[in-house]
């Protein structure tokens, strides 16, 4: 694999502030726009900025940048974009836009919303029925796209490595134990292995607790030059390296193997472009939209070999807190991740990473955290990640 190490934006762009609305796993009586707006206002206020300071708007597909600009009364922007989920698409677009001068202060957001494609219960709200977004599989049971694709490769993981459902369950339990310390998390009740194994099967071999929880809520970020962020109220979080990763066969059915997809590209790219990797990481954020994705991230990041993630989690399990602490030190998704905080397409992972590095993570704070790694997204066409660090 040949990835470039060229990274002129290294540490030149920073996240000045991050904010969230918190997440709810029921159909709230609110619009998607209302969550985006609430998070954006909170992020701007945390950065000591007003609408007039913003000249770039970058978010996921809904609300659109024009809708958000109008809702917030942002007077003028010179750049806006709505790249697809997951969240590194938004973050990397912001880094490129700020570093190149397309804009100077980018307001970056993702609003999570319960819709028919992520939860059947969304049909109960007539205002949500229009949001079908079915992807490639429009009602074809034999299509192996999206959620079904991850389930299919989970079957291969168990076949190749002889793993067990308990390996998946450790990912879910770690998230749930962490979510107990996060007031904004949707699912905070303790989870046992027995409870995990008894959860309703959705598509064998994955059950309801192997899949992220559909929520209403939003996250927002202020992204600007590191130079300017240093004059703002909060400690800047420098974007050391950011990348997407994809291979030549990025579809669910044609992906060559669990050892040859987008995640391996992401890892090689971040190691080539950035200044640190897992040995110098204080807090780790592997994406967990499906438990199988998290196991694969541990293996591809280099914490352990192929098929060994379950054993790795058991070896680094902190029984006192019923969660993973790598080498007794590094927590994994301390906010509860997508499985327990809520399905944020990675925005929650980044918001928590920012708060950890700014010392704003409350009772979840990792003492002296200076470096975070976020490996977001899945296997096929959405693997991505970033290394984040504090100044100096």
């Amino acid at each position: 694999m040949s990835v470039s190490s060229r990274n002129p934006a290294k540490d030149q762009v920073a996240i000045a502030a991050a904010a969230t609305t918190g997440f709810t796993a029921t159909n709230t009586d609110r619009s998607q726009l209302s969550y985006a707006v609430q998070a954006c206002v909170a992020a701007l206020r945390a950065a000591g900025l007003t609408a007039a300071d913003v000249d770039g708007i970058i978010g996921s597909s809904a609300p659109t940048a024009p809708e958000l600009q109008g809702a917030l009364g942002i007077p003028v922007v010179t750049y806006f974009a709505n790249p697809p989920i997951p969240f590194v698409n938004q973050l990397s677009t912001a880094v490129a836009a700020v570093h190149s001068g397309l804009c100077n202060v980018a307001l970056v957001y993702h609003a999570s919303y319960r819709l028919p494609w992520n939860t059947g219960s969304a049909w109960k709200d007539p205002f949500r029925r229009g949001g079908l977004a079915g992807g490639a599989s429009a009602g074809i049971p034999e299509s192996v796209f999206g959620s079904v694709g991850y389930t299919a490769w989970a079957s291969r993981y168990l076949y190749e490595f002889g793993g067990t459902k308990e390996d998946f369950g450790l990912v879910a339990i770690n998230d749930r134990s962490n979510a107990a310390g996060n007031p904004g998390a949707a699912m905070r009740e303790p989870l046992t292995m027995e409870g995990y194994l008894a959860a309703r099967m959705i598509r064998d071999p994955l059950c309801m607790l192997d899949m992220d929880v559909a929520v209403d809520g939003g996250d927002a970020f202020v992204v600007t030059t590191t130079e300017r962020a240093r004059d703002m109220p909060l400690k800047p979080v420098l974007i050391n390296a950011v990348t997407l990763g994809m291979t030549g066969k990025p579809s669910e059915t044609q992906t060559p193997s669990l050892r040859e997809h987008g995640q391996q590209v992401v890892v090689e790219s971040l190691k080539a472009r950035g200044d640190f990797w897992i040995d110098d990481c204080d807090v780790y954020f592997p994406y967990d939209g499906f438990t199988i994705i998290t196991l694969n991230w541990f293996e591809n990041a280099g914490y352990c070999g192929p098929g060994e993630a379950g054993d790795f989690l058991r070896q680094h399990w902190d029984h006192a807190t019923n969660r993973v602490l790598i080498d007794g030190r590094v927590p994994v998704n301390p906010h509860g991740g997508s499985l327990s905080e809520g399905a944020s397409q990675g925005s929650g992972h980044f918001r928590e990473a920012v708060h950890q590095l700014q010392g704003l993570a409350g009772e979840r704070q990792v003492a002296g955290a200076q470096r975070a790694i976020v490996t977001a997204g899945g296997f096929f066409f959405n693997a991505q990640g970033a290394t984040l660090r504090t100044d100096g």
């Binding site: 059947g120 074809i140 049971p141 192996v144 299919a152 598509r203 044609q254 060559p256």
Partner: protein, 157 residues
Amino acid sequence: MAVDISDEDLLARYPGYAIDHDTRARYRGWLEHVMLFDRCATCATWHEPPGPICPTCWSTDIEPTPIAGTGTIHLAITLRQGPPVEGVDYSTPYPVVVVELDEQPDLRMSGTVVGADNSEIVIGRRVHLDWALRRGAPFPVFRLDDQHGADQPGASS
């Protein structure tokens, strides 16, 4: 093997499927129980999904070509829920596999398996193609190699 049917009518026969200029030959093939995969006429490589150019040599001389329909189960799951479709019973639950075809390594297609217990539908089993009907239109299914024709196509026991 070109079935004489308009693009409009083809779309109507296969609602929900991603049919466009690159994939329509496949679905015309389904109407005649022929499973077509794109093959490059220049370098002989098979590709999936169908596309306008060969990803291996960039030739645009692409020929939708019948496959033998034999292969090995590579991924195997069962669905306890899914889109409501005539003839699909998620309470069984409904098996879905991705089959690695004999034509070329890593060339795969997805489908259900009929005429077998779910406990037998496992990674590594040999399968072959058969046809079933949905809304009156043929679509491909798989059968396990050692269970020939015990059931009618479309029966998911």
